[in-house]
């Protein structure tokens, strides 16, 4: 079985990854790490760069977890990418990180986490940054 984790290079993203590693270790599942960008801006700080990815790679290898890291740039938002990945791989769990959002911010920008929570077909584990 597969566990999908939505990763962003922020404290929330790190928390989600840590939690996902623990889950994957427990059940010996494959971990699918998704870090996506719409790719429509020149700069996107939520898209992990090479050194980031490498350190994740090392960390996962250290724990001896089967893993796939994907960084799709297809013009879809992060929620769609995570949900797609979960569907395609018949995931048994999605792990995401939550951050504090103001109602106005959510109204204007929408919420990736909310979409994943509402639309996922499998259990979603949401964690917060410490």
């Amino acid at each position: 079985m597969t566990i999908v984790v939505g990763y962003v290079p922020t404290p929330e993203g790190e928390a989600a990854l840590t939690q996902a590693i623990a889950e994957a270790k427990k059940s010996n599942d494959t971990l699918l790490v998704i870090n996506s960008s719409k790719g429509d801006a020149l700069v996107d700080n939520r898209y992990a760069q090479e050194p980031d990815i490498q350190s994740i790679e090392e960390r996962l290898a250290e724990h001896g977890i089967q893993h796939i890291i994907k960084q799709p740039i297809r013009g879809h938002d992060a929620a769609a990418e995570v949900l797609d990945a979960a569907d395609d791989n018949d995931a048994k769990l999605i792990v995401i990180g939550l951050r504090r959002r103001s109602p106005v911010g959510k109204l204007i920008m929408g919420s990736v986490s909310q979409r994943i929570l509402l639309e996922a077909d499998c259990p979603v584990l949401a964690v917060k940054a410490d």
Binding site: V43, D44, Q49, I53, H67, I69, Q71, P72, R74, G75
Partner: protein
């Protein structure tokens, strides 16, 4: 009136609150478009041109001057923080600047770029104020044959010297000259290239052409290459410099200025060559040559100064002769025409107050730019997080509005789309945009001088060589055109010697550098950073 009192008059015009406000708008807009790769001051001035018809010409030009200088400043920010030059003249800055930023010295790189730009811009503008009237004095004695020769030189030099491929340059120039031909012949009244469409007999409006090629072409190009791997911006605080940085920067600033201004002022100007020359010189003269390639502050200070001095230099032939040598100057020249002001050597006498206010506003703009760039550089970098669909939708909206408002004719929108498609194809096939725009703007004036010359000599082509200056310039043109051939011959005879051919292979082409950066990632294809590794 001498230069000093004219300039003071200019300051008194430029320092009125209203004009100061336009200068402020200009520098802010200019910095913004300079920061964003793909947009440039030429496109911005073209887009704003129809909007500013309601303004006093002086206010409009003060704003354009701010945009012009602001674009030069903004380009360096993107070069340093992102290694994506926002402007062709910032390409060299990116070499050392980005290395500095990666080594944690982004603040110093930004500071030396901003202060160097200010120093060079101020010296350059002073030289402009001093040189332009002298050039004018000399220029009023020139006749049509000489003007024809100078314009030929400008067109050929920009086409043949700048950019990677001469063939593409000349193809672009040919397109521009053809577009310039559309309409009624000024002497005989015959219609040319109108295809029987009466609306074409007035010719194509230069504003529509510029907006189509710069704005619509670029927007289509970006739309076709929308998805690319996003980068991280290097975080930076307020730019500052230590004592050692000052010591290492001030000489490159001055040397850069010395390189920049004359190259900008030459008819074959452009900021690319002097920035590159400055870089090479600093590398040779530096006491820390080992730092070059790993972030040497001299490699940022020199080229940035050269770039801004060249920007000031470019305005010398533009104001004194009516001869633009870069895209922004070309569009500004078109702006003069659309305000009913005849560019040329008469400009200083017929529009003295406007010209001097423009020059004074360059000094003011420079100071404003230093003030808003030193503290706000990190903020400008945030602009790069803007999703481009929103940005380009806005640009297309303004482009359409502008093109329509010129003549209030729906037909202009058709022309806008057709030429926008042409602009897209030019980017697709790597044709530089600058020769086209120069061809459109200078073509009709070139023809006018040719006709005048031939009328005076009763149709005898020998009339073209009737002035000594004209002959001298034809010799220079012949050298420029024959130079690569000669080089090739020398190289063939002595294959062992390596000759410096200028910067052709080191530089991306002029206006569409963003286009030429190969960026991966399309729809379903795996991204370059995508990694698939499965452990058993």
């Amino acid at each position: 009136m001498d230069v000093w009192s004219s300039l003071m008059d200019g300051f008194s015009t430029a320092l009125t609150p209203l004009n100061l406000m336009y200068a402020m708008i200009g520098v802010i807009l200019g910095t913004a478009v300079g920061v964003l790769p793909g947009l440039g001051p030429a496109m911005t001035v073209a887009l704003l041109l129809p909007v500013t018809y309601a303004l006093e010409p002086t206010s409009a030009f003060i704003m354009f001057a701010g945009i012009y200088y602001g674009g030069m400043y903004g380009g360096s920010t993107t070069s340093i923080l992102l290694n994506t030059p926002g402007e062709s003249s910032s390409v060299v800055t990116a070499i050392e600047g980005n290395k500095m930023a990666k080594a944690g010295r982004a603040a110093q790189a930004l500071a030396t770029a901003a202060i160097g730009s200010f120093v060079a811009g101020t010296i350059g503008t002073t030289l402009l104020a001093v040189c332009a009237p002298i050039v004018v004095k000399f220029a009023v004695s020139l006749g049509s044959p000489s003007y024809f020769a100078i314009m030929m030189l400008a067109l050929l030099a920009v086409t043949a010297v700048l950019g990677k491929s001469r063939l593409r340059g000349f193809a672009s120039l040919g397109l521009g000259l053809a577009i310039g031909l559309v309409g009624l012949d000024s002497v005989t009244g015959q219609s040319r290239l109108t295809f029987g469409i009466p609306l074409l007999s007035d010719g194509l409006d230069i504003v529509v052409v510029a907006v189509a090629i710069f704005a619509v072409g670029e927007a289509l190009w970006v739309a076709a290459h929308l998805r690319r791997t996003p980068l991280h911006i290097i975080p930076v605080g307020r730019p500052w410099m230590g004592k050692k940085d000052w010591q290492r920067s001030w000489k490159p600033w001055l040397r850069g200025t010395v390189f920049g201004f004359p190259f900008g002022a030459l008819p074959a100007g452009g900021a690319e060559i002097p920035t590159f020359l400055s870089y090479v010189t600093e590398k040779r003269l530096s006491k820390h040559p080992e730092e070059f390639g790993h972030g040497a502050i001299e490699g940022v200070a020199g080229p940035e100064a050269a770039n801004n001095a060249a920007a000031a230099g470019t305005l010398t032939p533009m104001l004194a002769l009516g001869l633009p040598t870069n895209a922004t100057a070309a569009v500004m020249l078109a702006a003069f025409t659309s305000y009913g002001i005849q560019p040329g050597p008469q400009l200083f006498s017929s529009q003295g107050p406007l010209v001097w206010a423009l020059i004074a506003s360059l000094f003011i703009g420079n100071l404003l730019l230093l003030l808003i760039n030193l503290p706000l550089a990190p903020l400008w970098a945030k602009l790069l997080q803007l999703p481009r669909p929103y940005l380009y939708a806005g640009i297309l909206f303004f482009a359409t509005l502008g093109a329509y408002s010129v003549n209030l004719q729906a037909f202009d929108l058709v022309i806008l789309l057709v030429l926008g498609a042409l602009g897209f194809m030019m980017r697709r096939f790597g044709l530089p945009v600058l020769p086209l725009i120069l061809g459109v703007i200078l073509g009709p004036r070139l023809e006018g001088q040719l006709r005048k010359t031939l009328q005076l000599s009763a149709g005898d082509p020998a009339g073209l060589f009737s002035e000594p200056i004209a002959i001298g310039i034809y010799v220079i043109i012949a050298i420029i055109l024959a130079w690569p051939l000669v080089l090739k011959l020398i190289r063939r005879n002595r294959p062992a010697t390596v000759l410096p051919t200028g910067y052709d292979d080191a530089e991306p082409t002029t206006e569409h550098h963003v286009a030429s950066v190969p960026q991966a990632t399309t729809t379903e294809a795996p991204t370059p950073t995508e990694q698939k590794q499965e452990k058993p």
